[in-house]
Structure formats: C-alpha cells, structure tokens
Symmetry: C2
Subunit: 249 residues, 2 copies
C-alpha cells in the first residue's frame, strides 16, 4: 500500500471512459473523512462532467488539454457560505468575514483535495492538479456560480490513465527535512541538493528548448515570471476581499 | 484500503513509544511524492522530537496536551527560501516575493501534510492537526528559526494510538457536492443538512456545557469568536509580509 503511494505519479491523459457515479460518490465520501478544522467542513466540491461546461472552464486553466479530455473535473472550494448561513439561521453571530477564516477554509479544501487524489489513485484512477485555479479564481467563480464566501482553491482532473508516464524526480529528503530547528542552506548545500535535478536529461532538454543557461532560469523566466506572479497576486487577493473575507486594517 | 481511510479518525493520545527513525523517514519520503506545483517542492518540514523543544512549541499551540505527549511533532512550512537561494546561485531572477507565491507554497505544504497523515495512518500511527499553526505563526517561526520566505502552515502530532476514539460525524455528502454549478442553500436545505449534527448527544453536551442555545453559538461564541479570528488575521497577514511575501499595491 505504502509502496503504491511511493510509486504514484500525476496522470494528465485519460482513456475515453466515464467514471461510474456510484464509484465517484464513494471516493468523495471517503475523502470527506479527511481532517477538518473543528469539524466545520468549510469546503465545497463542484463536479463538472458536461463537456460544454469543461469547455467553459478550459480557458481559465489556460486550455490545458487535461480539462476537456478528463471525464470528471473537480473544483475544490474554500466555503464559509454554508456555515455562515447555518449560524445566521440559528441566531449565532458569525465572525468569519476575515483573512484567517479564509485560510482555515482553504486548508480544509486542500486536505480534502489531497485525500480525494489518494483514494482515487488507490482505486486505479489518475489525477492532475491545476494550479491555475488560484490564478484565475474570479473567472472560475463566475462559471461555477460561486456565491460570497466561496473561493476556488484547487482543481483536480480525474480519469482512467491512458498511459503511465515515467515518475519524475524529487529532491533528496535531506533537502526538505530539518531536525529540531531550521538549518539554513549554504551555497554548497544548495549545489549538492539540486545537482541531480539540474542534470537530468529531461530537465536539460527544457533548458535547451527555452534557450536558457540553466534550469533555474526556466522557472524564473518561463514558467512563473515575476510579472505573472504579481498579476495573479493582485487578482487573487482582490477576489478574496470581493468574496467577503476582509483584510485586517 | 479505501475502507480503512473511510474509518480513519484523529488521534490525540499516544502510547509512550517512540517512532523508529527509519520508519519516519520512509513515511516522509513517501509523502514527498505528493503532487507539487511545477515540481518545485516549495515546502520544508521541521521535526521536533526533543521534549524540551516540544515544551517550547506547546504555548504557541495553546498548550494542547497532544504537543508534549506525542513522540514526534511535524511543522509543515511553505518554503520559498531554498528555491530562491537556488535561483540566485544560478543567476536567475526569482519573482517569488509576492502573495500568489506564498499561496503556491502553502498549497504544496498542505498537500504534503495530508499525504503524510495518510501514509502514517495506513502504517498504524495516529495523527492530529494543529490549526493553531497559522494563529501563532510568528512565535512558531521564532522557536524553529524559520528564515525569510518560510512560513509555518500546519502541524501534525504523530504517535502510536493510546486508544481509538469513536468516529465523529460528517455532513451528508449532498451538503458538500454541487453538480455542474454551485446551488446555493435554501433555509430548508441548511436545516436538513445540519439536522443530524445538531442532534447528536455529543454536540448537545457542548451546548449545555457552554450554556448556549444551540450548536452554532458554540462555534461563534466559544470556539472561534470574531475577536480571535480578527486578531489572528492581522498576526498572520503581517507575518506573511514580514517574511518577504509582499501584498499587491
């Protein structure tokens, strides 16, 4: 079991085969057993199966082909709308229109998304996360009719794998772990920890294709340049506020 | 396998039994196979095993007894420090000092935390999330010596279960799922979806103990009142900025 999770990989290409509704519900119900802050379950999941609706979502995900080719697209949302409505209906005064409550709901949504990904993979399905969800949250919210206090946090495309790609590399675990306190990285440590990653044939190909000097420049200049990150920062933070989560003074 | 994940529960009390270092590393290495944005792995994990250090962390987690009684405490951090150092060392210009990059790193850290929780549970360990991590991030960062661009996002206490508590309730899956678009909740739907939760003996006990009229008021008045949420909002957002993730103008 553990070994299968160690062998897991992201699946972007799917067979033309639907996911049975009963199976999907079973997987979702299992995922909803993921830990949640104070057992509030301040998240919602929007299921997109209709081709027409996948095509509406695709541009918000920069037309990654996985969106329109997956049988199921799941948008995981931070959701305080339902909980606030429940409070108001019970003459309880909700104080959740703030940044920390947004963070709480986002954490809930992400833990559930990852639990869904795991149970889907264990069941022979493949998944792909779309990081574009927070970049284009306002567009996605409009397409999915998300009300105040609901914010899309991540998206999973799900389907039966068309093929199993090679597993990609990870940093050595020593790069990630710190014992008792954070030990900051010396230049030598950075060099050693990224050495294998920099020298993989696949990564060398990206450097060449993008006419860069090294892999780091592929990230900073091509994959997530400053101007994109700054634009998406403004879009997302403005949207958090628009949806009702006020920033502190 | 799926059925064991459906039966999972949070474990707060542990046997007085250490976790073998080789096992812990194996679980962490498996967790680091969780999906990560652009395979950047912008997270770090600080392992606390020393009793003295657990006692230092405990007040930041409001002295929840699970912190000092667990053999292992793991603090999962959003970490762009390592990646930025790698970029700078390669004459690549990092543009990650912004809110969206913080969000990316926080997502990475949370997916890894949940993957760790799952592999630990599958291996017979029990875990408890500490939502206090984002409330008292500055204190935790000081204790763990977290540098610029590193922010604690969540904490897991881990150990062998001392007992297996009853599984707590979840909302019916219909409360969480939306097909094709978000269907907002009518007052009748809210009443129906929360009915079972409101009427559980355990939840009725909380109402009585706290001298409240109903369960919603236990949340709004006792568990997360407005003034706490607003204080923690300010503390956390100020800390995000202090650690180098600028807010948009």
């Amino acid at each position: 079991m553990i070994s299968s999770l160690k062998e897991r990989r992201t699946i972007r290409k799917y067979l033309n085969k639907d996911i049975d509704e009963q199976l999907l519900n079973e997987l979702l119900e299992t995922a909803f057993r993921a830990p949640t802050t104070q057992n509030m379950q301040v998240y919602s999941v929007v299921i997109t199966r209709e081709q027409e609706n996948k095509e509406k979502l695709a541009p918000a995900h920069f037309n990654q082909p996985t969106v329109t080719s997956a049988p199921v697209v799941l948008t995981f949302c931070a959701d305080f709308n339902r909980f606030i409505k429940w409070c108001e209906q019970n003459h309880a005064e909700p104080g959740y229109d703030n940044f920390q409550s947004f963070v709480t709901a986002a954490i809930d949504a992400l833990l559930v998304a990852q639990q869904f990904c795991t149970v889907a993979e264990i069941s022979g399905l493949g998944c792909c996360y779309l990081g574009t969800t927070t970049y284009n949250a306002p567009q996605i919210a409009e397409i999915l009719h998300l009300p105040k206090f609901v914010i899309p946090i991540t998206t999973l495309t799900v389907g039966y794998p068309a093929d199993i790609p090679a597993q990609i590399e990870r940093l050595p675990i020593g790069a990630i772990l710190h014992h008792e306190a954070y030990q900051d990285y010396t230049p030598e440590a950075i060099h050693r920890l990224y050495f294998e990653k920099e020298n993989l044939a696949e990564n060398k190909k990206y450097i060449e294709e993008n006419h860069k000097e090294n892999l780091a420049q592929v990230f900073t200049d091509v994959r997530s340049p400053r101007k994109d990150n700054e634009l998406f920062s403004k879009t997302f933070l403005d949207f958090i506020v628009k949806q009702g989560f006020r920033l502190p003074d």
